[in-house]
Symmetry: C2
Subunit: 595 residues, 2 copies
C-alpha cells in the first residue's frame, strides 16, 4: 500500500514540457539544473514515501488531541517526521536566500509539495500553511518584521497560520468582529474568536505565527476596515527567540470528516498582543497574497490525493482476481483474471490518470508562471505571468479539487466493498480530499472570483493572452499530422471557451445573476480547456521523444492517456457550455420558501 513518488512524470514535465533549462539565466533557475532537480526529487520522494506515507493512516486513526491547558498533541510520529522535514531543509526550498532560503524556483518546490501532500495531506498542512503566512510577511512586513519572522519560517522552526474565519463570517469578511485596540507602545490588543484555523496549535515547533484579520477600533464597517496583524504564540524576545506566552489560545478542535491528523482549531484571542502587518485597513490585500498561495496549494492537494488514491486503486485492480475478461481468460492458470481486464475498471483508472497527469502539468505550468512573474527580466513576460496567476488560481483550485474528489471516489469504487472499509486507504483519501473543495474559498467562490473579478480585469487582458497563446500553439502545430487529434481537441474546447466568454460578456455585465449562474460551468469548461492544452503540450513533447527513438514507454503511454483524455473526458465541455448558456432564470424562478 506504499506511495510511489511520481518522479519520472515530474521530470518529464520539467525537462520535456516546460523545458526548465530555457530559464537558466533567471535567478534561482541557475541552481536548478535538471541534474540537481532530479537529485532533489529523488530525495523528496524518499522522504514522502518512507517518512510521511507510513504516518498517514496513524494520523487518520489517532487524530489530534486537545488538552485543557490549550495545548494540542499531534499524532504519534508527526513530531519526529517534522524534525526530519526541517533537518532536510525542505521548508526552505524555494524561500528567499535573503532569509535563509535556497531560492529554488517555485515549480521545483511544487514537485516536493505534491509528494508531501499525496503521502500525508494532514501532515503537509503544518508546513504548508506557513508558505502563505511567509508570503504575506515578505510582501507587507517592515524590515524588522521580515528579519524577525522570515528566517524562522523559511527554516520551518516556526510555522504560520491564517486567522480569518469567525463563526458569523466565512466568505463574507465584511462581517468580521475581531477587534484590535491600539496601545501606546505601537502594539495592538486583539480580542475575538476565530474558527477552523488549520494548524492553529500543535506541538511540532517552538513558535506559531498567527496572521490575524481584525478591525481596529473605530475603523469603518465592512471590508474597508480590516487590518492584518502578526500575533505570535510566544512573543519574540530581544534576541528574537520565543519569549513570553501571548494570550492567543486554542479553545478546542473541530471533529471532522477527514484530515484528522491536522489540528483544526477554535482560536481565542483575549487581548492577545499583535503587530500591524502592512497598513491599517488594508488587511485584505495582504490576506489575498496569503490566500492565493494557499489556493494554489489546495489545487495541488486535489491532484495529490487523486494520485495517491489512483495508485492504491491501480494496485488493487492488478491484484484482485475476480471474473474473466470479456474477450476470454487473460490469466488462464489462475482462478480468475485481475479486474484490470475490465473496460469499466479501466475507465475509472484512466479518468484518474487523465486528470492527475493533466492536472499536475497544469499546476507546474502555473507555478512556472509564478516564478516568471517575479524573476523574468522582461516586463511583458512578467505582466503576462502575473495575469495568468490571477486568472488561473481559481481554475486550479476549483477545477482540480472538484475533479480530484471525483477521482478519489472512483478509486474507492474500483476497490468494491473493500473500498468502504477502513482497512484500505481509499476511504481516507476520499475523506481527506473532500475539504479541498471547501477551504480557502469554496469552489463556488472560486467560480465567482473567476467570472466576476479575474475575467473582466484590465479589460479581459489575461483571458485575451491565454486565448492568444492557444491560437499560437494551434497555428504552429496545424500541419503536425501526428498531433492532429490533440490540435483538433484543443481547438474545439478553445472555441467553446471563447463562446462561453462572449456569452458572459454579453449577459454577465447586464445581469450579474447570469454570471453567477454560469460561473461553475464556466470554471469547468476553462479547466477542461486548460487540460486540453496541457495534454497537447505533453503529447508534442512525448512525440518528439518517440520520434527520436527513445524506448522509454513513458512517452508512448503519455500519448495513450492523452488520447483517452480527448475521447473520454473532454466531451464534457459541451454539457458545460449548454448549461451555462441557459442564464439565471432556471435557477432563480423557484421562491426561496419553496426550497
Amino acid at each position: 500500500m506504499s506511495y510511489q513518488p511520481p518522479i519520472r512524470d515530474q521530470l518529464f514535465l520539467l525537462r520535456d514540457v516546460l523545458e526548465l533549462e530555457r530559464y537558466a539565466a533567471l535567478p534561482g533557475f541557475a541552481d536548478a539544473s535538471l541534474d540537481v532537480v532530479e537529485q532533489i526529487l529523488e530525495e523528496a520522494g524518499r522522504f514522502a514515501a518512507e517518512v510521511l506515507a507510513p504516518l498517514n493512516r496513524v494520523g487518520d486513526r489517532q487524530g489530534c488531541r486537545w488538552s485543557p491547558d490549550n495545548s494540542v498533541a499531534t499524532p504519534d510520529g508527526f513530531k519526529a517526521a517534522y524534525g526530519q522535514l526541517v533537518a532536510g531543509g525542505w521548508p526552505a526550498l524555494s524561500a528567499d536566500p535573503a532569509y535563509g532560503g535556497q531560492g529554488l524556483p517555485a515549480v521545483v518546490n511544487m514537485a516536493f509539495q505534491e509528494m508531501s501532500s499525496a503521502a500525508n495531506m494532514a501532515f503537509s498542512m503544518y508546513p504548508g500553511l506557513s508558505h502563505g503566512a511567509y508570503a504575506a510577511i515578505r510582501a507587507g512586513g517592515s524590515p524588522e518584521q521580515k528579519d524577525l519572522y522570515l528566517p524562522n519560517m523559511a527554516a520551518g522552526r516556526w510555522t504560520g497560520t491564517m486567522n480569518l474565519t469567525e463563526p458569523q463570517c466565512g466568505t463574507d469578511l465584511g462581517l468580521l468582529r475581531t477587534r484590535a485596540v491600539p496601545q501606546a507602545d505601537g502594539t495592538y490588543r486583539i480580542s475575538g474568536q476565530k474558527i477552523w484555523i488549520s494548524a492553529g496549535e500543535h506541538d511540532l515547533v517552538e513558535n506559531i505565527v498567527h496572521l490575524v484579520l481584525a478591525r481596529i477600533e473605530g475603523a469603518p464597517e465592512g471590508v474597508r476596515g480590516i487590518s492584518l496583524f502578526i500575533v505570535p504564540k510566544f512573543i519574540p524576545d530581544a534576541a528574537g527567540a520565543p519569549g513570553v506566552r501571548n494570550s492567543v489560545k486554542c479553545l478546542g478542535l473541530e471533529e471532522k470528516m477527514g484530515i484528522h491528523g491536522n489540528a483544526t482549531c477554535v482560536i481565542g484571542h483575549e487581548e492577545s498582543t499583535g503587530w500591524l502587518l502592512g497598513e491599517a485597513n488594508q488587511g485584505l490585500r495582504l490576506m489575498f497574497v496569503m490566500m492565493n498561495e494557499a489556493r494554489l496549494g489546495v489545487g495541488l492537494q486535489g491532484v495529490a490525493q487523486a494520485d495517491a488514491a489512483y495508485q492504491a486503486a491501480a494496485r488493487f485492480a492488478k491484484e484482485r482476481l475476480q471474473g474473466r475478461s470479456l474477450s476470454g481468460p487473460q490469466n488462464p492458470d489462475g482462478p480468475a483474471d485481475p479486474i484490470i481486464v475490465h473496460p469499466d475498471v479501466r475507465r475509472m483508472l484512466l479518468d484518474a490518470r487523465a486528470i492527475v497527469e493533466g492536472g499536475r502539468a497544469f499546476m507546474f505550468w502555473t507555478a512556472l508562471h509564478g516564478d516568471l512573474a517575479h524573476a523574468s527580466p522582461d516586463e511583458a513576460v512578467r505582466t503576462k505571468a502575473a495575469d495568468y496567476m490571477a486568472l488561473l488560481t481559481p481554475v486550479v483550485k476549483g477545477f482540480l479539487t472538484d475533479r480530484g474528489f471525483k477521482v478519489c471516489s472512483d478509486a474507492l469504487q474500483v476497490h468494491g466493498g473493500a473500498g468502504f472499509t477502513e482497512g484500505f486507504p481509499a476511504s481516507q483519501h476520499l475523506r481527506d480530499c473532500r475539504i479541498a473543495l471547501i477551504y480557502e474559498g469554496t469552489n463556488g467562490v472560486q467560480a465567482l472570483d473567476l467570472v466576476g473579478r479575474k475575467l473582466p480585469a484590465q479589460g479581459g487582458r489575461a483571458m485575451g493572452a491565454f486565448l492568444a497563446e492557444l491560437d499560437g500553439f494551434l497555428a504552429a502545430e496545424k500541419a503536425n499530422v501526428e498531433l492532429a487529434p490533440f490540435v483538433q481537441g484543443l481547438a474545439g474546447a478553445r472555441a467553446q471557451l471563447q463562446e462561453a466568454t462572449f456569452w458572459l460578456m454579453q449577459h454577465g455585465l447586464a445581469n450579474p445573476e447570469d454570471a453567477g449562474a454560469a460561473s461553475t460551468d464556466y470554471l469547468h469548461l476553462f479547466g477542461l480547456t486548460a487540460l486540453a492544452y496541457m495534454w497537447a503540450l505533453m503529447a508534442r513533447a512525448a512525440q518528439g521523444r518517440v520520434a527520436a527513438g527513445d524506448p522509454d514507454p513513458l512517452y508512448a503511454n503519455k500519448l495513450i492517456v492523452g488520447r483517452y483524455f480527448l475521447e473520454r473526458v473532454l466531451p464534457d465541455t459541451g454539457a458545460h457550455l449548454a448549461k451555462l448558456k441557459t442564464g439565471a432564470a432556471p435557477l432563480m424562478a423557484l421562491p426561496a420558501e419553496a426550497f
Copy 2:
C-alpha cells in the same frame, strides 16, 4: 435539523402521476384507496421523523459493538425503535396476506421505505434486508418452509440476511468455497466464511434467518454448482419457536466509512445446520430474486439519502447569512443575505431537487410495474411489467446511487466549512450514501448487467417496449403547447438513447469489450432519459392541476424544477453519448503493467 417526510410529493406521484385509483380492481390495490394511503404515509412520516431520525446520529457516533461471545449490540435506542416498527406493522405492509402481511401494493411500501431510509439508513437496513430473504423463500421455499419462516419475517419478529460474499469471491460467485455436506436427515452441514454480511448479527430480534450460498459436496465448479440454504441462527423447534443455537457465528465487524449503525459482519459457518432452499445447484436463480429486491432498495437509498442531505442543505442555505445578492440586498435589515440568494448555491440545491423528485418518480413508477407484474390479470401487461423490472433494476440502482452521492456531496458543499465538521449532518449523509454505489453489485456491475444481459434479452423486447411507450407519450402530447419543452427534451434524450442502443447492437455483439467500455455511460444516458420521461409525466399532471385552478404551489413548483432538469441536468446526455461511441480502444490501449 429534522427530517421532513415528503408526503405531499409522494401523494402527488401516487394520485396525479401514477393514478393509483386506476388499478383499484387489482388485488391489494382495492385496499389502497388514496385516503387510506394518505393516512398510512402520515403515520409512516411520523415514525420516520420522530423515532428513526433522532437515532441517526447516535448510530453514526456509537456504531455497533461486537463481543467475544459473538453477539452484536446495536446503538442505543435501536432496539426500542425496532419494537415500535414491529408494533406498527410496518414490515408487513406489502407482505402476502397468506403469511400475515397486509398485502398493500409494493409502491406504497416503497413510500414507507423511502422515509425510513432517509431518516436512518443504517437502521432501515435491518428490516430492509429481510425483504429480499422473504422474497426468495416465498419464490422457492417448500410449503413447510414458507409456513415456518414467512409469517415471522413478514411480522418482523425474525430478520433475514444474504450470505453471499467471501473474501475471494464478491462479484464472481463462481469462486465460492463455502461447502455444504448432506446429512442423513435431509439437512446440510455448512462450513465456510462469509464477509460483509449486513445485519448479519444484532440484538433486535429473536431469530435471524441467513440465506447462504454454498456448494454441495461434489457439485460442479463455477456458478452451476451453487445452492442456496436457509441457516437460522436458532433452529426452530417443533412449535416453530427459536430452539437450539445453530453454529453460525459473527466473528467480527467491519470498520467502515459510514452506516456505522448497521452491523457489517464476518460470519463463520462451522458445520452450521442448513436446509436447502429450492433445488440443488440452482441457487443463483433464487439469489437473484433476493438480489433484485435488494437492488431496488439500494436505488431507493440513493434517492433517500439525497433527499435528507438536500433538506439539511436547503435549511442551512436559508439560515446562513453571508454576503449579498448579486442583484442587491435581499435582507437589507440583516447583516447579510441568506446564501440561498446566490445562483450557484441554488444550482446545487436544484440539481438535488431535479434528481430527488425525478428519481422518486422513477422508483415509484418502477415499483408499480413490480406490482403489475404480479397482480395484473392481463398477460401482456404482466409481461411488459416484468420486462421493465428486469431492464430497469440496474438503471435504478446504478444511476440513482451515482447521482444520489453527487447530491450528497453538493449538499455538503452548500454548508461550506460546516459541512466538513461532524457537528452537521452532511458528512454522515455522504459517508452513509457512499456504500450504495457498491453493494448488491457495484454500479459497474449494474452497467454490465444492463448492456450484456438485460438489453439483449428476448431480442431486445424490454427496450423496444420502453421506447414504444416514450413514442406513445410523445405522439399523444405533440400538440400540447404547454408541455412543449418537456416533449422536446424527452424526444432529444430518447433519440440519443436509441442511437446509443443501435451503436451497442452494432458493436457490442461483435466485440464485447465495446459493450463493457460503453456500459456506464449507457446506463447514465438511460437514467437521464428515464428521468426526462418522469419529469414529462409529472409536468403533465402538474399542468393539469394548474389549469384546473388548483392554488397549491406544489404544482407550479414542479414545473419550475422540471424546467431546471431540462435545462441544467439533461444536457449531460450528449457527453455520455459521445464517450460511449468511442468504443473500447481508448480504454484497452494502455498495457496493464503501465497502470
